[in-house]
């Protein structure tokens, strides 16, 4: 089985650290280390965690940016040098093909980071749509590390002080331990942190250097999932997919104002109609007591009518209780609304709440 899985440049290090390896998006990845999901989660919120996210898709786009922009919800002309934006790749009916980061870390066009499970489809789509107008170069020889948590800045002050000049969603090219790297001040945990793109041959050395810092522990995919859930961040293929639009997914903020005015993104008609009609389901957060509600659990009104579905759920170690996100009928989307979640058929009292579940600690300067 593992013979058919891809390995990241840090695979041997994960095994050496005692990582419990599982298949994820075609890669053999650590779901947890000996510290355990709960310990890794809390360590990241209190100090700093190092995540291997090399399975994600990295690429460069150079050329006619309007051709790329036509597939996305971002206004690429509004992204200046040194800036990063979260954006969505949509299908013709406004469904979400993927969520991704686009940035200008240096003078070489646009740097893209997409999800692991969708990277082949995304890149093929971009290549076809921009044929003759631009060149997408897939980056297969770089690792991607995320250093996340309140102490991430202290670590970087020691190892790459220039990177600490950046605020949330800025990016640039830096030298880290003598290696040329791309760094953005961003992440997937709701904490301050950095994402670092490193040539694969230097990745293990830099990962070890980061892990040698007293604040840093290695963190697996299990805690990555519980951290992003508490931060109210979507997991593609679960909290959104091609059947959900940015309106339903409560991601209208990822639709740039100018693009919305121009109406020139895929599925613009569907999305405009949904914004006007105000009838579609919405993605919301839920807290409940007792049993965690998992993906697929039905949400019911107090009279027993099914009004939605949980798309991600589990135990939030920082919240110290079960948290979930899901889609719910409009009439029930207001924070404070009391509903039930059917966990193994048993109604469990739940409440619609504002996300994130924990306060975001991004560094905004």
């Amino acid at each position: 089985m593992t013979g058919t899985l891809f390995k990241t440049p840090l695979h041997a290090l994960h095994v050496e650290l005692g990582g419990k390896m599982v298949p994820f998006a075609g890669y053999d990845m650590p779901v947890q280390y000996p510290l355990g999901i709960m310990g890794e989660h809390k360590h990241t919120r209190e100090k700093a965690g190092l995540f291997d996210v090399s399975h994600m898709g990295q690429a460069r786009y150079i050329g006619d940016e309007a051709a790329l922009e036509a597939l996305l919800t971002a206004d690429l002309s509004a992204i200046s040098a040194g800036e990063q934006k979260y954006t969505l790749l949509l299908n013709e009916t406004g469904g979400i093909r993927d969520d991704l980061m686009v940035s200008r870390p240096d003078g070489e066009g646009i740097f893209l980071v997409v999800n692991a499970a969708t990277k082949d489809n995304d890149f093929a789509l971009i290549e076809n749509a921009t044929k003759g107008k631009g060149t997408l170069t897939r980056i297969e020889d770089r690792a991607l590390l995320a250093l996340q948590g309140p102490a991430a800045k202290d670590v970087m002050k020691r190892l790459c002080p220039d990177a600490c000049e950046m605020v949330f969603m800025q990016c640039g090219a830096f030298t880290l331990d003598g290696t040329h790297v791309l760094i953005s001040r961003s992440g997937y945990t709701g904490e301050d942190g950095f994402e670092i793109s490193i040539p694969e041959d230097d990745a293990e050395r830099i990962a070890r250097l980061l892990l040698d810092q007293p604040e840093v522990e290695a963190i697996g995919l299990g805690a990555r999932d519980s951290l992003r859930l508490e931060a109210g961040l979507c997991l593609y293929g679960h909290d959104m997919d091609e059947t959900r639009t940015p309106v339903e997914a409560s991601l209208i903020w990822a639709l740039s104002k100018t693009r919305r005015e121009r109406g020139d993104f895929p599925g613009a008609d569907v999305i405009a109609a949904q914004i006007d009609a105000k009838t579609c389901q919405k993605r919301i957060g839920l807290t409940l007591s007792g049993a965690p509600a998992r993906e697929g659990a039905e949400i019911a009104s107090k009279d027993g009518t099914v009004i939605g579905i949980v798309t991600s759920g589990g135990f939030g170690p920082t919240v110290n209780g079960p948290v979930a996100m899901g889609y719910i009928d409009r009439d029930f989307m207001q924070p404070g609304t009391e509903v039930d979640i059917l966990v193994r058929g048993k109604p469990r009292a739940a409440k619609v709440v504002k996300m994130p579940f924990v306060t975001a600690n991004f560094y905004r300067g």
Binding site: A291, P292, F315
Partner: protein, 121 residues
């Protein structure tokens, strides 16, 4: 008192015709931090192999199966507020239920400690 083990990592400890059931230290270690245990109602009758409880870790829910036939006579209410007992003391304070065993000879078909050790080796 006889203690036996199942392939699904439950333990069952018999005293007269009353048996205490829990999950093994091996199972608790594999699950990681237990955050919730869903237990059945007292009075419920079980057939060997029935799913009678669910143990939730941060990441996932796992079923717990009845090692033998019987009827629930007591549940470990303390797990409701302190599910972490399952990790701290799986063979003691982290027990799940007590049952009145229908046929104690069913325990003969389960593994003893040495056989279970081999099973998890």
């Amino acid at each position: 008192m006889t203690t036996r083990y199942t392939e699904d990592h439950e333990w069952i400890s018999l005293d007269g015709d009353i048996a205490t059931i829990g999950i093994t230290a091996y199972a608790a270690g594999q699950l990681g931090d237990v955050v919730f245990v869903e237990l059945p109602d007292v009075g419920k009758s079980l057939k060997k192999g029935d799913e009678f409880a669910v143990v939730e870790s941060v990441k996932a829910a796992s079923e717990v199966y009845a090692p033998v036939d019987g009827e629930i006579v007591e549940i470990n209410d303390a797990l409701e507020n302190e599910p972490a007992k399952v990790n701290e003391d799986p063979a003691g304070d982290g027990w799940f239920v007590k049952i009145k065993v229908s046929d104690t000879s069913q325990l003969d078909g389960l593994m003893d400690e040495a056989a279970y050790k081999d099973h998890t080796a």
